[in-house]
């Protein structure tokens, strides 16, 4: 019987107390692991700190929200821009490239965000000096799709795979009828593009329900173009035409696809527009022009994120790590209290062992081993629990937040965790161990 077996027996002897203390350590470690898994996911999601465009144009509102949805694909957009505005912007002499993005749904499997865009998106660098590389061909047909590397890996998709999409995010059970076909798989870029499904913008509009109700669209256009009467008149005319068409088709039903093709431009919307200007000066110029108006805003895509990361998330992350560290410490103290309290009950046991010839160092080691069993056992259980919960929760988390958890990715800090548990075990076991070490055998036997 070695010292560990002896320690283990006495841990088992006090099952309840041992179980509870080990559990407290386990919960602490579990929380720590979860914090690390989540912050790993956050770090990965926000890993991209530059994009290949100077400006990101979207509706007036929160610049952070715009960047989160357009660059990091994490939050659904609140408001959109009329497609007509994209056409106008494209004609601006300061604008060299303008790529439209439209967001809405997620894939049925994996909950990956869906982005409608044009082939242009893949022709321009996604980050300075970094061009997309893909296996397959560009989006041409209405229901063509290009998928990111992570999407392809996760769903086991390849060129030729077909899929359908869910409407309106994670909570919805509403699966669209349209089947999309993967025409290309992007090589991994280390950006949100890896977990995005790109559709042909036209295909995106063709999905049932992606057009605004006509009255809502009209109201929005009237607001948006209040100061541009000719554009507004053109748009309203289109809507009127569309209303008339719908009334006709209601009496003589036609097939689905045909109906879609007639969706007027005025009813289409984009979520954001990626803009490359002819010069940096043009960028500043355009940005301040938009600032004066009320229609849209242009933001430097990465600045808000850097701000968020350094000012908020980074600190929150640190705070959480510190907090969970403290939880583990508190659990350590509770193990200490439990072992230390048990020492008075065990004075006799230790006396007996010593009378049987156990060395002082042996009884010290037995108590230390007990503490190690509790700390380490708790630690391992907590580690498994943490990753287990990450496995179970990752689909929900990625649907709700767009963050992709990698449940089994071991954060380097977790390797620190185990030596730390060992140190904790020694700290926790040391004083009770010394009590055991110093036990007066004759007294202990009489107690």
């Amino acid at each position: 019987m070695n010292l560990f077996t002896i320690a283990w027996k006495s841990v088992r002897q006090r099952r309840l107390a041992s179980g509870l203390t080990a559990l407290s350590i386990a919960l602490g470690v579990m929380l720590m692991v979860l914090v690390l898994v989540i912050s790993g996911a956050v770090e990965q999601a926000f890993g991209q700190r530059s994009i290949g465009y100077q400006l990101l144009v979207g509706p007036k509102g929160s610049d952070l929200q715009l960047v989160l949805s357009a660059v990091y694909r994490i939050q659904p957009p609140i408001e959109n821009l009329p497609y007509m505005y994209y056409e106008q912007l494209k004609k601006d002499r300061r604008v060299q490239v303008a790529v439209p993005l439209a967001f809405g749904d997620v894939t049925e499997v994996g909950g990956f965000p869906i982005v409608g865009t044009t082939a242009e998106y893949f022709e321009h660098p996604y980050a300075p000096e970094r061009k997309f590389r893909m296996r397959g061909k560009q989006i041409v047909q209405l229901f063509d799709a290009i998928v990111g590397a992570e999407v392809a890996r996760f769903n086991n998709w390849d060129v030729g795979s077909q899929f359908s999409i869910k409407h309106g995010g994670a909570d919805s059970e509403d699966v669209h009828d349209e089947k999309f076909t993967v025409v290309a798989v992007l090589e991994a870029t280390g950006t949100a593009n890896d977990r995005t499904v790109f559709l042909n913008l036209e295909g995106f509009y063709a999905i049932e329900g992606h057009e605004k109700p006509i009255d809502e669209a009209e109201k929005r256009l009237r607001d948006f173009y209040a100061s541009e009467p000719d554009v507004l008149d053109n748009a309203i005319a289109q809507l009127e035409e569309y209303r008339r068409h719908q009334a006709e088709s209601a009496s003589a039903p036609e097939d689905h696809a045909h109906e879609h093709e007639k969706t007027p431009v005025a009813m289409k919307e984009v979520t954001a527009i990626l803009v490359r200007t002819r010069s940096d000066f043009d960028a500043i110029n355009l940005q301040s022009d938009l600032k004066k108006g009320f229609q849209a805003m242009a933001v430097n895509p990465i600045a808000p994120i850097n701000r968020l990361m350094t000012n908020v998330l980074g600190n929150v992350q640190k705070a959480l790590v510190v907090l969970t560290g403290m939880i583990i410490l508190v659990s350590g103290i509770s193990i200490f209290v439990s072992i230390y309290n048990s020492m008075s009950d065990r004075k006799k046991e230790i006396g007996i062992m010593r009378a049987l010839g156990a060395q002082r160092t042996s009884v010290f080691a037995i108590v230390l081993a007990e503490s190690a069993v509790l700390c380490f056992g708790g630690g391992v259980i907590g580690w498994l629990l943490g990753h287990g919960i990450a496995v179970v929760a990752s689909p929900t988390v990625s649907m709700k937040t767009g963050l992709l958890l990698n449940p089994w990715a071991v954060n380097p800090w977790e390797f620190v965790l185990f030596p730390v548990m060992l140190i904790l075990a020694v700290l926790v076991g040391f004083l009770p161990g010394m009590t055991a070490y110093k036990t007066n055998v004759a007294d202990a036997l009489q107690s």
Partner: protein, 230 residues
């Protein structure tokens, strides 16, 4: 000769700072294989004497020679190991470890000796004390008689040269008393183990041919303490 005490003195320091002399023994001796019973008034120092013999307590002065070696002069770690190997102890209150089964209690005694744990021998010992069918029972599920028999087996686990028993039958009924007594005496005789047993029972003492009265060889006057003890 397996046990020799020479010029052994022991006194306790009481909480008030007063010094309480308990033992002062010029010479006490047991030869190998001898069986002796030690009697004396309560508080006279019998347990103290056994603790000094086993090396659990150190005397203030004097020699305690077991199997040819003075354990007083040994470094503590060596003395602990010496105790594990040479001395078996049976306590009045059995002192089995509740977290361990009967067999494990016996194995535990072996594991502190630094020698290889001999499981068949441990099982054999338990069989000899009539507990072959209770090897894996926890002490708490055994009768007091059975518990004391486990304690006897444990004391013999390392094949000691000296067995010390402090009132081993004080807590068992009279049936078990003679059973355990015979068990201890027989196994000691079979293995040529020297036995020193403390008892308050005239019946137990009467069974021994050698009965030592502590006051006969202890020069500390026990009566001085009488009013303080129970």
């Amino acid at each position: 000769m397996s046990l020799l005490l020479q010029d052994v003195t022991k006194s306790y320091r009481e909480p008030g700072g007063r010094v309480l002399p308990v033992l002062s023994i010029e010479k006490y001796e047991l030869v190998q294989g001898e069986q002796a019973v030690l009697v004396g008034s309560s508080g006279g120092g019998k347990t103290t004497l056994l603790n000094i013999i086993s090396g659990i307590l150190l005397p203030d002065s004097g020699k305690v020679v077991i199997d040819g070696r003075n354990i007083v002069e040994m470094p503590e770690a060596i003395r602990d190991r010496y105790r594990a190997i040479r001395i078996g102890i049976v306590f009045q209150t059995f002192n089995l470890l509740p977290a361990f089964t009967a067999l494990e209690n016996v194995l535990l005694g072996m594991s502190f000796s630094g020698r290889k744990v001999d499981r068949p021998f441990a099982e054999n010992l338990l069989q000899r004390v009539g507990l072959a069918h209770r090897l894996n029972h926890s002490p708490s599920k055994m009768s007091v008689g059975e518990q004391q028999r486990v304690a006897v087996a444990r004391a013999l686990a390392n094949k000691p040269v000296l067995l010390l028993a402090d009132e081993p039958t004080a807590n068992v009924d009279s049936d078990n008393q003679s059973l355990i007594l015979n068990l201890i005496r027989d196994t000691c005789r079979e293995n040529n183990v020297t036995l020193l047993m403390v008892t308050h029972s005239p019946e137990v003492a009467g069974a021994f041919s050698r009965v030592d009265r502590l006051r006969d060889f202890n020069r500390v006057v026990a009566g001085r303490k009488q009013e303080v003890s129970k």
